[in-house]
């Protein structure tokens, strides 16, 4: 039994569980897609946002607890927040704004100018 515990401990040391943050994606005003990700416990320094080709990768490390003490109740998932999105061609990859506040990451993804709806007026003849 004691050996099982040792083996399990070793395995858990190597494994990092990725937690997928809960998201809220909406288009508030035409042309700007707002992506909100709930990442409680992630500070500005522990957050990485990368655009690689057409992939948007978001990784957020939680502040590690002291690891001491006995858990009487454990509902909060432990691990690293990670989510990868594929950006389609309508999104301008160079125009992404990010803001982290109170554990919520807000990303504003702007659509390309060419994709925005245009009004075509008829010239008076």
């Amino acid at each position: 039994m004691a050996k099982d515990v040792e083996v399990r401990k070793e395995r858990e040391k190597e494994q990092v569980r990725f937690i997928r943050p809960f998201c809220f994606i909406c288009e508030e005003e035409a042309g700007v897609v707002t992506l909100k990700l709930e990442m409680p416990g992630v500070g500005k320094d522990q957050l990485d946002i990368d655009v690689d080709g057409n992939e948007l990768q978001i990784t957020g490390k939680r502040e590690a607890g002291s690891g001491e003490g006995t858990y009487l109740m454990k509902e909060r998932p432990s691990g690293t927040f990670r989510q990868v999105y594929t950006l389609d061609d309508t999104i301008d990859h160079n125009k992404i704004e990010a803001n982290l506040e109170g554990g919520v990451l807000t990303l504003n993804l702007h659509r390309r100018e060419s994709e925005k709806p245009r009004k075509i007026t008829i010239k008076p003849s």
Partner: protein, 151 residues
């Protein structure tokens, strides 16, 4: 004097359940279902951890996107209550929502505290969407170290 059974920290019930929970959650991390969460991951109300230390208890609660002024913590007759409201603003009427996994509205969680908690010395802090409450134990309940006298 009450005798307390010896136990291994790694074999305690909560630890074992935690491990089982993680195993089941990991099944859902299988790449075939990229959009699923762990089965036991809490999403309808804030998740809470309760940790016991030798001279205190600490309660940690995930409250992302909630204003500090909207959180209300109280202790009454040995019950800790965390109440609050999560508000989200909507800028325009005709917004298009593509995906919504988050919740909003009011919430309440209560925890019965052991009698050893000193309710007058409770402290709380809030940063990065995580609420941390420290509940110190009464002096008589703290773990005391007994020094060995050498003759």
């Amino acid at each position: 004097m009450a005798l307390i059974r010896w136990y291994d920290r790694d074999l305690e019930p909560v630890g074992t359940f935690d491990w089982l929970q993680r195993q089941i959650n990991d099944l859902f991390d299988f790449p075939r279902f990229p959009e699923t969460q762990g089965l036991f991951d809490r999403r309808v109300s804030p998740a809470i951890d309760v940790i016991e230390h030798p001279d205190s208890f600490s309660v940690e609660c995930d409250l992302p996107g909630i204003d500090q002024k909207d959180i209300d913590i109280s202790i009454a007759s040995g019950v800790l209550t965390i109440k609050g409201e999560k508000k989200t603003e909507q800028k325009s009427e005709n917004r298009k929502v593509y995906k919504k996994e988050t919740w909003e509205g009011s919430f309440q969680r209560t925890i019965s505290l052991p009698s050893v908690v000193d309710a007058d010395k409770v402290e709380a802090s809030f940063s990065n969407g995580v609420l941390r409450i420290t509940l110190p134990k009464r002096d008589e309940a703290k773990t005391k170290r007994i020094e060995l006298k050498s003759k």
